[in-house]
Amino acid sequence: DVKVTQSSRYLVKRTGEKVFLECVQDMDHENMFWYRQDPGLGLRLIYFSYDVKMKEKGDIPEGYSVSREKKERFSLILESASTNQTSMYLCASSLGVGQETQYFGPGTRLLVL
């Protein structure tokens, strides 16, 4: 079974703090994704990566950056957290082109005070 893990289930941070969310997958998948999920807005893609050290902007990249130094690990960074970044953050991975099914981690609920 594909396993995607996220470093924290719940996080509470203060405005202006730098926040790191980590995601690890154990199935040698090429692609990794970061989403945020908010009521009424559904899943929105922040960034994705199709290879080590490669990244692509999603639909809402502002205020976020990412890092992929190793194939199995994809980090989301909030450079200076703001209250409007309070959300559920979901990481996902997929095998690669031709197999687009994405497998999700359990999510991190981030509260920015």
């Binding site: 559904g42 899943l43 979901l90 031709g98 099914t101 999700f104």
Partner: protein, 112 residues
């Protein structure tokens, strides 16, 4: 027009009823179609996966794809309280950019 439309519900049904969910889409290049189930405060899990048109059955779950109408459906037979969750449809092109287009999700409540 959004790429994928899904009625958010909520949909409440009595235990044992058939649940019918659907999504419409606008991109005729979509070839892969998925349904995800998401329990409260958890990540989505893949429920059904279909390539191109047709039906697929897995236990109590049936997925249908009608590409001519740009319409996909998920049916849950003999619904159980454990089926109470949000169901998201997702789809992608065959040689796309690795991205999935998601519906907003449809909340289902099965009442014992």
């Amino acid at each position: 027009q959004k790429e994928v439309e899904q009625d958010p519900g909520p949909l409440s049904v009595p235990e044992g009823a058939i649940v019918s969910l659907n999504c419409t889409y606008s991109n005729s290049a979509f070839q892969y179609f998925m349904w995800y189930r998401q329990y409260s405060r958890k990540g989505p899990e893949l429920l059904m996966y279909t390539y191109s048109s047709g039906n697929k059955e897995d236990g109590r779950f049936t997925a249908q794809v009608d590409k001519s109408s740009k319409y996909i459906s998920l049916f849950i037979r003999d619904s159980q309280p454990s089926d109470s969750a949000t169901y998201l449809c997702a789809m992608s092109e065959e040689y796309g950019n690795n991205r999935l287009a998601f519906g907003k999700g449809n909340q289902v409540v099965v009442i014992p």
